[in-house]
Amino acid sequence: MADFLTEEHISKQLLEGIAAYKKKYPSNADAVRPKYPYYGRKIWEEAISAVLSGANLLLEGPKATGKNVLAENLAYVFNRPSWDISFHINIDASYLIGTDTFDGSKVVFRKGPVVLCAENGGFGILDEINMAKNEALVVLHEILDYRHTISIPGYGSIDVNPATRFLATMNYGYAGTRELNEALASRFVIISMPQISMENLERLLLYTFPSLKPKWMEQFALLFEDLRKKVEAAEISQHAVDLRGFLDAIRLMQNGLAPSEALEMGITNKSFDSCERRLIDDVIQSRIPETLESRSLFG
């Protein structure tokens, strides 16, 4: 990954900072290698700076901007184990911190992901943090600010391992999201994630599908761009701009499925509105011919 960061032209000072951090906080467990690399020097530098300065990071941005990819990449670059915690409306403090449970003879405390992450000096990825009710998030305040402790009623408090960082992601546009309360937002430094550029999308496609022919790689990147423009014009919903679905569709093509069918599964069918599906189909047809066979794409 160090080579990758060098290729991304990350400043030498930050690369040295990463090395110093890894030396200071050696990890026994190997960090999980992310499936996709994050492309974008500016965001990389901002995120690395934040982690090195001990700050918690809030990655804010619309769909398909690589928030989770960046979070996973950071955990890997700093060689820390990561805990991925998906937030939802009914999440509560006990889900995050832990709950009492009965082991047959006595009541015991079962640790939640936040406690496990804090004890092990991990990177806690708080996914879609603004899906949760603000009341449920109050428990995070003392973990995220200067106190770095977790108070567990009846069990005392736990000091947060100094290597621990929390990386939250959020998207204001998603259905079911809400404004993050000011007290919590103030405990993060916030990076506004930009849309993936055409150049970086092509790099991502090349990394993921090295055998994809350049001609079609460009068309897939342009297709994604066309769909994004349609979303920005409010002609279709965000369902179609799904980078995961987009990559999944190309993977299906790699396995022999016809491009039109793969794109239907990966993109078109993400919308549940027949009118919208038609508009998405029209865009796809203008980039990827209906008659195209999957074997023509790779080679």
Partner: protein, 575 residues
């Protein structure tokens, strides 16, 4: 650009054009449909590409330069044939799929040929048809049809290359028109784009060739409802009639009162006070029925109401796909809001928060269900009263309001939130509440019975709405008003404390009176929000009446966001 006037089919055609242009602000002067009324994919794509590769303004000027002549239709189509070839060559290197799109279009052209009757063949313009046949045969690598020397010459000239710029293309077309049609009078004829792709005219257009690019002005259509105000039921200036006679008329027009006479009089006694002294209230569920109308006036109103009902239904159906999509979106948004703020209930569980009073069960019964777990409350305990301003000032927007109200009502109903939809108007001194859909009804179809007539004494309507709010059995009640925030009644404001003389119920006096009623309702614990549908000049009125409790919308597409936001704000305040 106004996008909300489009039907589903028009919207799709425009999306194809915008997609090709890469510009969603482009207002295409041409749109192509096939004989079945569906967008002609490839030709619409070419129209979009013309904006991408050429100077649209110059092209438009060129198209205008011969409009109004008998050649216009032929000139339009052969110009597009030239554009097609040039644009294809320009775009193909960046879009390999274009080749497949073009060939598919060419095949469809010849497939259509086999299904045409003799009459349809005869109705065709021979020159244009020959040129099209030659072009699409060439695309498919087929043998060209037999062409006259003139047709051959034109066809060759129309194979405009990809290197042409706008001026070059226009010069080519001018030379064709001059040399092959002996036309040189490009002086800008009185220009009118008059084709609408609807109904009979659309079918007539489609006879001309199997698929055709034609001019349209539907993008710039004024509201189709403007100027329908002639049937307004205004009574200002008429002398007050005898109350009993007025009541009979109201009953004929709107049906029996929901409340017994004694109850109704008591309500009037309590609500028609101060500035509203002498006014009357009428709550009705009835639909105006011309057959049982007792007076010519009631009969006329009932007939108009029935016509409006049909118009409302037709309007909703015309945009059904988009409307259904709005309902789904709004439903999701409301459910999310409700879920976020619903109070969770605790149930016994095997893990969770220890319930100390149940610990004995572990020792005595060996049960591990000594914990509590939170589960969200399944049913929101809220209801919504949607109040629609149904005064004559809304005549130009009746179909839109009915559609909007239906979408709100259906979304709430699908979320299992009890909703009532009432239209209010003031007529002969009676402020009439017409219950279009009650809390208990299982569908919202009654909302299409909305029609506008009379005046709007908003202040009294706000006071009177409290009675309907109480008809709901839920603990939290919202009043959502669709309004133009422009109260206006023929009956003056009566003298009361601080107002020694009667005043017109309009302008600032009407607004102040309504604002006071809203304030009193709020003080009584009712949550009020408004969706404002008025003009720029009336925004201040909405601010005065509802302070920050209103959202302004300009088009129906915005309704889900607006109502979702208002509900979200109100539910958040409750929790």
């Amino acid at each position: 650009m106004k996008k909300y006037l489009y039907t589903t089919v028009q919207r799709r055609a425009l999306n194809i054009i915008w997609d090709a242009a890469g510009n969603y602000d482009y207002a295409p002067p041409f749109v192509a449909f096939n004989p079945h009324g569906e967008p002609e994919y490839y030709l619409d794509f070419i129209i979009g590409l013309s904006d991408k590769w050429f100077d649209s303004e110059k092209l438009l000027k060129f198209f205008k330069s011969y409009s109004g002549t008998i050649h216009r239709k032929v000139f339009d189509n052969i110009t597009w044939l030239a554009l097609e070839n040039s644009l294809y060559e320009k775009e193909l290197p960046r879009r390999p799929a274009l080749k497949v799109m073009r060939e598919k279009h060419a095949r469809a052209f010849f497939e259509e040929e086999t299904t045409m009757s003799r009459q349809e063949w005869m109705a065709k313009n021979n020159l244009l048809y020959s040129l099209l046949s030659d072009r699409w045969a060439l695309v498919l690598g087929r043998k060209s049809p037999v062409l006259s020397p003139r047709e051959k010459r034109i066809s060759k000239k129309l194979r405009a290359g990809g290197t042409l710029d706008t001026d070059g293309l226009i010069a080519t077309m001018r030379s064709i028109f001059q040399e092959d049609f002996l036309f040189s009078h490009f002086t800008g004829y009185p220009e009118e784009f008059t084709f609408h792709f609807r109904g009979v005219l659309a079918r007539m257009l489609s006879r001309f060739s199997n698929c055709e690019i034609s001019r349209t002005n539907f993008l710039n259509l004024p509201s189709s409802h403007a100027g329908e105000g002639s049937g307004a039921y205004h009574s200002k200036g008429l002398a007050r009639r005898h109350e009993a006679a007025d009541q009979n008329t109201i009953e004929s027009c709107f049906g029996q009162s929901l409340y017994h006479q004694a109850e109704r009089i008591l309500l009037e006694h309590n609500l028609c006070t101060e500035g509203d002294r002498g006014c009357h209230l009428w709550y009705a569920r009835g639909v105006p029925d011309s057959r049982s109308a007792k007076t010519p006036e009631a009969k006329g109103m009932a007939q108009d109401a029935e016509k409006q009902y049909q118009k409302n239904l037709a309007f909703y159906q015309a945009y059904r796909d988009r409307n259904q999509s709005t309902i789904r979106e709004l439903k999701t948004q409301i459910l999310n809001t409700v879920n976020q703020h619903s109070e969770p209930a605790s149930i016994a569980a095997r893990s969770g928060r220890l319930n100390s009073s149940s610990v004995w069960r572990a020792a005595v019964l060996h049960s591990s269900r000594i914990f509590e777990r939170c589960v969200p409350e399944p049913q929101p305990n809220i209801s919504v009263l949607l109040l629609l301003d149904a005064s004559a000032s809304r005549l130009g927007a009746q179909e839109t309001i009915a559609s909007q109200a239906y979408m709100i009502s259906e979304s709430l109903r699908l979320c299992r939130i009890p909703v009532e939809v009432d239209a209010f108007r003031t007529f002969r001194g009676f402020t009439v509440f017409q219950v279009l859909k009650s809390y208990r009804e299982e569908n919202s179809r009654g909302v299409f019975r909305y029609f506008s007539a009379g005046w709007n004494r908003d202040g009294l309507a706000m006071k009177a709405a409290e009675i309907r709010l109480k008809d709901s059995e839920t603990s939290s009640r919202f009043l959502l008003v669709l309004t133009d925030a422009n109260p206006n009644d023929s009956e003056p404001l009566q003298p009361s404390s601080g107002r020694p003389f009667p005043m017109d119920y309009s302008g600032s006096a009407g607004i102040a009176e309504t604002a006071r009623a809203v304030k009193n309702l709020k003080a009584g614990g009712v949550r009020i929000s408004a969706v404002f549908l008025g003009e720029d000049s009336e925004v201040r009125n909405a601010e005065k009446i509802y302070s920050d409790g209103f959202v302004r919308i300009h088009k129906t597409d915005e309704i889900s966001k607006a109502v979702g936001k208002l509900l979200q704000d109100n539910i958040a305040l409750l929790s």
